[in-house]
Each structure stands twice: as structure tokens, then as C-alpha cells.
């Protein structure tokens, strides 16, 4: 690779420099992808103690494996050539890749785009018409993803690879693409993504160089993060949920670092702090109180008086990877939990009807949020979208009501976590077990978990009832 090619690529990267301490590391597409989810996790990838990283849990590991299998399946159907090189020898890999591109092969699997410190190994590189250093053709980048909808982090990863490719072929690809779970190809303009990519790399540079401090920021993504244990050790503001990063920065600037100080804060203090609004301080105090006490703190009364009847807990669980609806449950007032399983694809319609016929008339359908998306999904799949509104009219999202009525010490995703938090207990999540059972089609476990979830929904409904009085 000559100097002008490197220069062109680096110009795009705006003079990015990884400090010496991390110079063994490469900046890869995965870092770009991860930066959108959590900047601090990428910072720790370079500067954290790698011995302290957590391995993926069984469910996440299984999901990753399914993703790899899906990628293999897609790739097997395409005519692609893979560059051959010793593992880790990216210089040779890049040379092999360039040689394949000079030959003009139609497609390359896991090409190596290496301009230190930048390393890109996209799933797909496809030959396209148009002038480049190679002649009257060039290449564009694609990636295989196991999601059904394209996401920003996926597209930015492709944009990153595309800029590296520009250094090689002298021309920025006009478009990139993602192959999604349903086999469809989602195309997008690379030029339109460049402002976001450049800004992202600038911010990375600021973090790595120390021009900007890097702090944890608690979100739902922390649950599966490999650096969770490191961030969780942090005390004070860093690990407080419910605040934006800007708000954390403002509080730090005004000298707030300890949760106890925030929990005791008087809102009138806002009058003395020009940068802090009363609304922010009230919210911060509530979250700090919840964290210090280790349990949920009331915020406002949930409005339940429009509920129909005593309420009937319901659930629908799906294997999101395959978009299969497997578990349908309900707990009629005064009755026993009923769980219906559709283990075979052909059973889905009949099982759904069976479940639907058991829904008691005149009762609200009390669920945990994700239920409505699943309901609409299956109604669409069964060709019955018109049925949605009448069921939606009866629905009551208990998780939404709980989040509106209380402030929790940690982000809550499951009903069991909400209940535990309301009672001041350590949350015990069942999501991991459920995801594995869904994938394994483990009927017994699914029945048990569904029954427990329905009981939890019933409990939550009672708690919200008490709080709404």
C-alpha cells in the first residue's frame, strides 16, 4: 500500500491516533459497532484489565453461535473466495485480498482491509461496475446480520469498512448493504453515513487521548456486557441509572459524586445551581434514593381505575431468531394458569386460536410490554391484523405502569425484577433460562417459566392496585 492510499484513508479518519499504551490493539469494525452501544466499553477494550472481562452467558453464546451459523448458511449460497493467510498475519491477509481484487473476482469472503491501526474484516465484498484503481470495476462492502431490521451500528460498521476499502481502490463505494435474517438485502448510502462515522472516530480519539474522560453509563445493554463487573464496582454517579450522560456530566460539574449526597438533596438547591434544573434534581434525587435504599421508590400513582374486571395476566413468547411464536399463556381470575405450546411450526395457528378462545370476556389483558408486539406479529402472520385493535383496547401494560409509578435502583426488564425491587430483594432474572428453553424447545421448562411469569404478573397487578388507591 503506498503513502497516498494510506493518506487518503487517514484523512477520512481525521488523524486518529491510538496511544502507545494500547498500540498492540487494532481499531476494528467491532469497536465502531460497539461504540454506538457503549463508548466506555470500547474504552475498556483498549485500557481495561482484560482478565476481568466476563464471558458471554449461555444464552448470548448460543445466540452468537446461531448468528455464525446463519452467516455460514448465507455465504454457502454465494460464490465467494476467501483470502488465505496465517491467523493473525493481517499484512499477508491484506496482500492476499489485494491480489484477489486485482484478479477481479466476483466476491470475497472475509477480506482483510488493514491500514494500521485500522483493521476491517467484512463478511462480504462484492464486485461492482465503476472506475477504480483496479480498472472499470471496484468493490462494495456487505455484512450478514441475524436481525430482521437494519440498525445504525451495523450500517456504521459497513461504512467503516468502506472507508478502508477506499484507501485500497481509490474510490469510496457509493453504497453498502446488509443481508438480514429473512435473506433480504438492505442497501444504504455510504456518503450519508460519513458525518456520523467521522464524528464517532473523533470522539474515540478524544476518549483515548484523555481529552475527554470516559465514564460508565448504566443502561439495559449492561446486562450482556463483558465489562459489567468492572463498571459495577463504580460508586456514586457513574452507576446511577435513569440519567443521561449529559445530566451526569452536569451533576459532576456541580460537585455531586456520592449517591448519599444526591439522595438527601433539597430541590431548593437548584436555585443556587445555574446549570441544574429543579426537574433534573428531583429526578436525580429519586434515582439516588432508590439506589441507596436498594429498592423501588414511589414516583406517582399508577392509574388503574379504567381497568376492566380483575384483570387476566397474559403472555406470548417467541423465538425471535426464527420469528416463531411458541408459548401462549393466560391466568384467568380465580382460575389456574393455562399454558399452550406450539412446538411445531404447523401448530402455531391452532394453538393461537386455542389460547384466544380461552381469553375471558370483560377482562383487561395484563401483560409485560413485549406482549403487544408479539400479538401484532402473530396476528399479521395469521392474516388477522384487523383483530389487533380490539385486543389492544383491553390490554394493560403492567411494566409501563410500574416504570411510571416507581423509580428503580437498576434498569428493570422483567416482571420478576420489578417485584423483587418493590420488595427490596435482589432481582432474580429468568430471561437467560427462558431464552435457552425457547431455543431448545424445552417444553417442561417453558411451561414452568410461563406459569411463574403469569403468577408474577398477577402479583404485580395486586401491587399496582395497592399503589393506585
Amino acid at each position: 500500500m503506498d503513502a497516498s492510499q494510506l493518506e487518503a484513508a487517514c484523512e477520512r479518519m481525521r488523524g486518529f491516533v491510538i496511544p502507545e499504551a494500547a498500540s498492540r490493539d487494532r481499531l476494528t469494525g467491532s469497536h465502531v459497532y460497539g461504540f454506538l452501544t457503549c463508548e466506555h466499553s470500547v474504552y475498556l477494550d483498549f485500557f481495561g484489565d482484560k482478565e476481568r472481562r466476563r464471558s458471554p452467558g449461555p444464552a448470548l453464546a448460543r445466540l452468537l453461535a446461531r448468528g455464525v451459523a446463519f452467516e455460514d448458511e448465507i455465504v454457502a449460497g454465494l460464490e465467494l473466495i476467501e483470502p488465505e493467510f496465517e491467523p493473525g498475519d493481517f499484512v499477508s491477509g491484506a496482500e492476499e485480498t489485494r491480489a484477489l481484487m486485482l484478479e477481479g473476482v466476483p466476491g470475497i469472503y472475509q477480506a482483510v482491509l488493514f491500514e494500521p491501526p485500522f483493521l476491517g474484516i467484512p463478511d462480504l465484498m462484492r464486485r461492482v461496475e465503476g472506475e477504480s484503481r483496479f480498472g472499470d470495476y471496484g468493490y462494495e462492502i456487505g455484512d450478514v446480520k441475524s436481525s430482521y431490521k437494519p440498525r445504525a451500528d451495523q450500517a456504521l460498521q459497513v461504512a467503516f469498512y468502506s472507508v478502508l476499502l477506499e484507501g485500497l481502490q481509490g474510490v469510496l463505494p457509493q453504497e453498502g448493504y446488509l443481508i438480514l435474517r429473512d435473506g433480504s438485502e438492505e442497501r444504504f448510502s455510504i456518503a450519508e453515513l460519513l458525518p456520523a462515522l467521522e464524528e464517532l472516530l473523533e470522539e474515540m480519539g478524544d476518549l483515548f487521548s484523555g481529552r475527554q474522560g470516559s465514564f460508565p453509563h448504566r443502561s439495559f445493554a449492561c446486562r450482556d456486557c463483558k465489562w459489567r463487573d468492572v463498571c459495577a464496582e463504580g460508586t456514586g454517579l457513574d452507576w446511577l441509572p435513569g440519567l443521561t450522560r449529559a445530566e451526569q456530566s452536569l451533576l459532576r460539574s456541580e460537585g455531586f459524586t456520592e449517591l448519599e449526597d444526591l439522595a438527601r438533596l433539597e430541590p431548593e438547591v437548584a436555585a443556587e445551581k445555574e446549570t441544574l434544573s429543579e426537574t433534573l434534581l428531583v429526578r436525580a434525587r429519586l434515582h439516588a434514593e432508590a439506589s441507596v435504599q436498594g429498592c423501588a421508590v414511589p414516583r406517582r400513582r399508577p392509574r388503574l381505575k379504567d381497568r376492566m374486571g380483575q384483570g387476566c395476566p397474559v403472555l406470548i413468547w417467541s423465538d425471535a431468531f426464527d420469528r416463531r411464536y411458541l408459548v401462549f399463556g393466560l391466568l384467568p381470575p380465580g382460575g389456574e394458569a393455562q399454558v399452550f405450546l406450539a412446538m411445531d411450526p404447523g401448530d402455531e395457528a391452532a394453538v393461537f386460536e386455542q389460547w384466544r378462545s380461552c381469553l375471558p370476556e370483560g377482562q383487561s389483558l395484563c401483560h409485560a410490554g413485549a406482549f403487544m408486539s408479539s400479538l401484532h406479529g402473530i396476528l399479521l402472520a395469521q392474516g388477522m391484523p384487523g383483530e389487533g385493535p380490539s385486543l389492544e383496547r383491553r390490554s394493560l401494560d403492567l411494566m409501563n405502569l410500574a416504570r411510571g409509578g416507581f423509580v428503580f435502583p437498576a434498569p428493570v426488564r422483567e416482571v420478576s425484577e420489578v417485584l423483587a425491587s418493590l420488595q427490596g430483594n435482589e432481582p432474580v432474572g429468568r430471561e437467560e433460562e427462558r431464552l435457552l428453553a425457547l431455543e431448545d424447545r424445552d417444553a417442561d421448562t417453558l411451561r414452568r417459566l410461563a406459569t411463574e411469569e403469569l403468577a408474577d404478573l398477577q402479583q404485580l397487578l395486586l401491587r399496582l392496585d395497592e399503589a393506585s388507591v
Binding site: 454506538l36 437494519p150 440498525r151 445504525a152 451500528d153 451495523q154 450500517a155 456504521l156 438492505e186 444504504f188 448510502s189 450519508e192 453515513l193 460519513l194 458525518p195 456520523a196 464524528e199 464517532l200 475527554q212 474522560g213 443521561t244 450522560r245 449529559a246 445530566e247 451526569q248 456530566s249 452536569l250 459532576r252 460539574s253 445555574e274 446549570t275 433534573l280 406517582r300 399508577p302 392509574r303 379504567d306 403487544m372 408486539s373 401484532h376 391484523p385 384487523g386 389487533g388 385493535p389 380490539s390 389492544e392 383496547r393 411510571g404
Partner: protein, 588 residues
């Protein structure tokens, strides 16, 4: 061309679901709103309290309430409840009229369609105004029944992309001639010609300032002169009135009728009104009847119109547009999908159909582009053209060289320089969500400089912002400094579509990335940016913190939209006002 019954049934079911989902989402939104306390609703701009009834309703059902202030987000026509019970829905259904800051009066009108029992109101008692649902479900479903009636197969053909592309060549030639005589540009003449010669459908794409309303008025006049009866529709009564008034200006003698309420302006222009389409007596020759699509919702066996014209079709939801199209065999739609789109409230709506009638049809049929803007100068027009129209929009010769006329010297000269028609006044702050006092102060300084040093009248200045809270902040600062008068527009973007000023000041107000990522589909909507920038004739000043451009939404289309803002911020000349006007910004 035959339509497959299964496809028709699928379309019918999906459009019905769309309407039902929309109604359900509206109901849920209100449920969540009413779950908040009165104080929270007031803070959110969804409730006005401490209102005192001044007297019984007048003959036209108008009710006057005394109020010391007005902070709510209510607009003219918004459906509300007037009451004082804990149960909001027990209140009297009314529609918002206006707020008179001088007289400190709010006026509302009893909803004439409400058939429920009327709660007692007592003069001198204290009341509240709360939001109410639009309740359009029944009207929309009735309208859909019309759309799918066998007599209206032409609408289904249009929706399915199967409408013929034929045209009458003789009328086309006459239309071109008419355009030349009217002094139209080549594109405007072609648009007029295609519209009057279409046998089924014509789409006219009208970017900002390209004379859409004038073209539409000439189309209507041409057809009416040839004894055609026209149904003119738009999303709101105000939009319908605007086109009728434009028509009256170019043709004093043309029979014009408004279906619905007759506003003072219509009355003054001699345009009569009627309530029901089926009872309307139309003249033998050409005439134009204007109304919203609900006026046309019931199936009328004798289709009484030769053409239906839909203005601002980029803001008319698909279902509304389809209902309007039942009134005639031929439809002419004028719109711009690159400006503001219809607001969708449905949480689980059908993405394919949750769009405007113009955007939906533009994916299936070609359109004719009005390619010259008579509003903006070249620099402003070029930015809009590159961002939203693939470089196809040009400034007209008349407007290209337009410059803001300023006196010598004066404060903030670097920002007001006429030679930089579009500029970013950077005012860094952090953590602001809906309100920025920092930006409000700079806006006030700019208004002061423009009015006092450069003698620019308030009527030539508009201040736009995405948020009602920022409107209140800016108005408060302006009022404190004696700069607020009735001619100065301080409003959200939505209210400015279709209007223009010599100078536009745009205050983004927000600087919390995480919050911006959550509301990215609103804040970074390309149509909103387009409308903001294209209201100005010669100067637009963007007042914002650098953090307003830093969000990276997780959704791809939102990221691409945010990317346009980022690209714009990087390309604009910039003056950093943070030292003098900024707030806390470092550390993140």
C-alpha cells in the same frame, strides 16, 4: 384493468386496521396523559388551569374564559374538554378558538358534533381545559366504505398502481398555452398542462416557494372556465380556505363554495358556505367546492365533480386522500414529500400505509417537478436543493441575488452579514432538553439588532423552534426587553409551512444527546429541517449548541436523518458565541 379480489380485500383490511390502530393509540396516549397529575399536564402544555367562565355560551356556541396566562400547546380547532372534575372525560367537549393576551381571554366553542349530555357551566366558576381525542374513527371507517364501494373502483386502481397514464393531447396543448400566458415557467406550464389533460391522476411536486398555490389556482380556473365542477380538498379547513382565497384573488367571478364553517376571511371575500355536500346546489357551469375529505366521506351515487384537487397532499394521510378521491374520476395532487409529513400516532401501524397520499402515490406514478423557487436567494436555495431535491431546485432570477438590506455597522455584524445567507451561531450548552435560556438570549440580541439598528420590521422576522417550552422562553426574554409585538412570529415549524419571512432565526434548544436519540425521529425529521431553512428569503441563522448535532440514534433511518444535520453543521460558516452567550458544556 381488473383488480384481484383478494388484493382488494387485503388492502381494505389493512387500511381499516390502520384506522383502528390509530384510534387505539390515540386512546392509549390520552389514558397515559390523564394518568398524570394536573401539574404535570400543565407543565407538559397539555392542560390549562385556573380559567374562569365569563358568561354563558353565545348563539354560535362560543365560550369565553378569563385567564392570566396561556402556556398550553393548544391550537385553533384542537379538541378539548372543559371541566373541573377529576375525571377529565366528564367535561364539556369543546374546540379551542384563540388566546387574546391583551384581554387575557381564551375562547373555545362547543363541539357541534357532540350529542352527549351537556354539563352545566357556571359563570365565575373555575375550570380547566384538557386534551380530547379527535375521535375520527367512525368518520374514517365510513369514508373507507365509500372507497371500497364498487362505484369507486377508479380509486382502488389508483391505489394499486394500475391507473392508466393517458392524457388528452388537445387539453395538454391548451394548458401549456395557458401557462405561457400566465407568465409561468416551463415547469409550471408543464404542470398545468399535465393536470388539465390527465385522464386519471396527476402528481405535481412543489418544493418551497415554487408557486404551488398559484399553479393550483390556475388549474382550477382553467377547468372551471370549461364548465368543470371541482372538489378542492386539503387536510385542514384553514388549508382549504387558503386556496379558495387564492382563487378568489385571480378570479372574482368564479363560483366558490366552502363545505363547512365560513371563516371571516371567506365571508369578506364573498365565498359562501354550506354544511352538507348532498344538499348543495351547484351552478350549471364550472364551480369549485372546497372541503376536507370528511365532507366527501359518504358515498354519493351521482358523482358530482369532474376533478378532485388535493393541496398540500404531502400532509394528507393516505386514508384521508383516498376518501377525497372518491368525489371524481380524475385526481390532481399537489404536494411535497420532502416537507412535513402527516403525524402518525399509531403504535403498531402498518408501515407501508402509514404515509401521506402524495408519498404513497409518488412511489407508483411519475410526477412533474416545479423546479424554480421564487422565494429564497441562491445560497439558501442551493443548500435546500442539495439536501432534499438532489440538486434539481434552482433559485429564480428574480430571487437569486436577494440580500438582506442592513444599515452600516451594528452589533452582531458577523452573524447578520448579508453575504452569508445561512450561518450557524454556535451557543454551546449541555443537558438542555426542550428549553435553552442561552439561545433565547442570543435570539433576543439578534431581534434587537435587526429591529433597532437595521429598522427591519417584526413582520419580516420569524423565530422557529421545535419546542413549545422554548417558544415560551424566547417570548419571555423578548417581552422583558420590550421586543415582542403582534407581528413577530415565535412558533414551531409546523405553523410556518406555507409562509415566509425575510429573516428566520432557528433555535434548536436541545443539547442532551441521549434525549435526542430517544426523540430522533421527531427532532431530526428531514422535512422539519427543510421547512425551517426554506422559510427565509434572504437570511437564516441557526442558533444551536454543538451537542444538538451529536446524537447517533440506534435506528438506521433516524441516523441517516441525523447525518444530514451533522453534514449541514460541518458545512455551514460558523460564529462561536459560546463565550458571550453559552452555558456549561465541557466534560462530555
Amino acid at each position: 384493468m381488473s383488480l384481484e379480489p383478494s388484493k382488494i380485500e387485503d388492502l381494505r383490511m389493512r387500511l381499516r386496521s390502520l384506522v383502528l390502530h390509530g384510534a387505539e393509540s390515540e386512546r392509549k396516549d390520552l389514558e397515559e396523559l390523564f394518568a398524570l397529575s394536573v401539574a404535570e399536564r400543565v407543565e407538559g402544555g397539555d392542560c390549562e388551569e385556573s380559567l374562569f367562565l365569563m358568561g354563558p355560551p353565545d348563539q354560535e356556541g362560543r365560550i369565553r374564559l378569563r385567564s392570566e396566562g396561556f402556556r398550553a400547546k393548544f391550537r385553533e380547532g384542537d379538541p378539548l374538554y372543559l371541566g373541573n372534575s377529576d375525571v377529565v372525560e366528564y367535561g364539556m367537549p369543546v374546540n379551542f378558538g384563540s388566546w387574546d393576551p391583551q384581554g387575557q381571554e381564551i375562547s373555545v366553542a362547543r363541539d357541534r358534533f357532540d350529542r352527549g349530555p351537556s354539563p352545566e357551566l357556571y359563570t365565575g366558576s373555575e375550570y380547566r381545559l384538557d386534551r380530547r381525542g379527535l375521535g375520527l374513527e367512525r368518520l374514517l371507517l365510513e369514508g373507507l366504505d365509500s372507497v371500497f364501494h364498487r362505484e369507486n373502483r377508479h380509486v382502488l386502481e389508483i391505489l394499486q398502481g394500475q391507473a392508466g397514464r393517458g392524457r388528452d393531447e388537445g387539453r395538454h396543448e391548451l394548458g401549456k398555452k395557458r401557462g405561457r400566458e400566465a407568465g409561468f415557467t416551463e415547469a409550471q406550464s408543464e404542470a398545468l398542462a399535465q393536470a388539465v389533460s390527465a385522464e386519471n391522476l396527476c402528481l405535481i411536486h412543489g418544493p418551497p416557494g415554487t408557486g404551488k398555490t398559484r399553479v393550483l389556482a390556475e388549474i382550477a380556473l382553467f377547468l372551471a372556465e370549461r364548465r368543470c365542477r371541482l372538489f378542492l380538498s386539503a387536510f385542514t379547513h384553514r388549508a382549504v380556505d387558503n386556496v379558495l382565497l387564492a382563487l378568489r384573488e385571480i378570479s372574482p367571478g368564479l363560483p366558490l363554495i366552502k363545505l363547512g364553517k365560513q371563516s371571516d376571511e371567506l365571508r369578506a371575500a364573498g365565498i359562501r358556505a354550506g354544511r352538507q355536500l348532498d344538499r348543495l346546489s351547484l351552478p350549471d357551469g364550472g364551480a369549485v367546492v372546497g372541503g376536507t375529505s370528511f365532507a366527501a366521506r359518504k358515498f354519493s351515487r351521482d358523482r358530482r365533480f369532474h376533478f378532485v384537487l388535493i393541496d398540500e397532499a404531502g400532509q394528507v394521510p393516505l386514508v384521508h386522500g383516498a376518501i377525497a378521491m372518491t368525489q371524481a374520476r380524475r385526481a390532481i395532487l399537489v404536494g411535497d414529500p420532502a416537507q412535513l409529513a402527516p403525524v402518525h400516532k399509531s403504535r403498531h401501524g402498518d408501515q407501508e400505509y402509514e404515509t401521506s397520499v402524495y408519498a404513497y402515490l409518488a412511489e407508483r406514478y411519475p410526477s412533474v417537478l416545479l423546479d424554480q423557487s421564487f422565494r429564497m436567494n441562491r445560497e439558501l436555495c442551493d443548500v435546500i436543493s442539495d439536501c432534499f431535491y438532489e440538486g434539481r431546485l434552482q433559485a429564480s432570477e428574480h430571487s437569486a441575488g436577494r440580500r438582506l438590506a442592513l444599515q452600516e455597522g451594528g452589533p452582531l455584524r458577523s452573524l447578520l452579514d448579508p453575504e452569508t445567507p445561512l450561518i450557524w451561531a454556535r451557543v454551546d450548552h449541555l443537558g438542555r432538553r426542550r428549553r435553552s435560556p442561552e439561545e433565547a438570549r442570543l435570539i433576543a440580541d439578534l431581534v434587537s439588532a435587526l429591529r433597532h439598528h437595521h429598522d427591519l420590521p417584526s413582520s419580516e422576522i420569524a423565530i422557529l423552534t421545535p419546542y413549545r417550552a422554548q417558544i415560551r422562553e424566547i417570548r419571555g426574554v423578548l417581552e422583558d426587553r420590550g421586543l415582542l409585538d403582534g407581528d413577530l412570529v415565535v412558533d414551531t415549524v409546523e405553523r410556518m409551512q406555507g409562509q415566509e419571512r425575510e429573516v428566520v432565526l432557528l433555535s434548536l434548544a436541545s443539547s442532551d444527546r441521549d434525549d435526542l436519540e430517544r426523540q430522533a425521529s421527531f427532532f431530526y425529521q428531514p422535512g422539519r429541517l427543510n421547512v425551517c431553512l426554506s422559510r427565509a428569503r434572504s437570511k437564516c441563522i441557526l442558533v444551536a449548541s454543538r451537542h444538538a448535532f451529536r446524537a447517533r440514534p440506534k435506528d438506521l433511518s433516524a441516523l441517516l436523518s441525523a447525518g444530514r444535520f451533522k453534514a449541514l453543521s460541518r458545512s455551514l460558516p460558523q460564529v462561536d458565541m459560546s463565550k458571550s452567550h453559552g452555558g456549561f458544556s465541557s466534560g462530555f
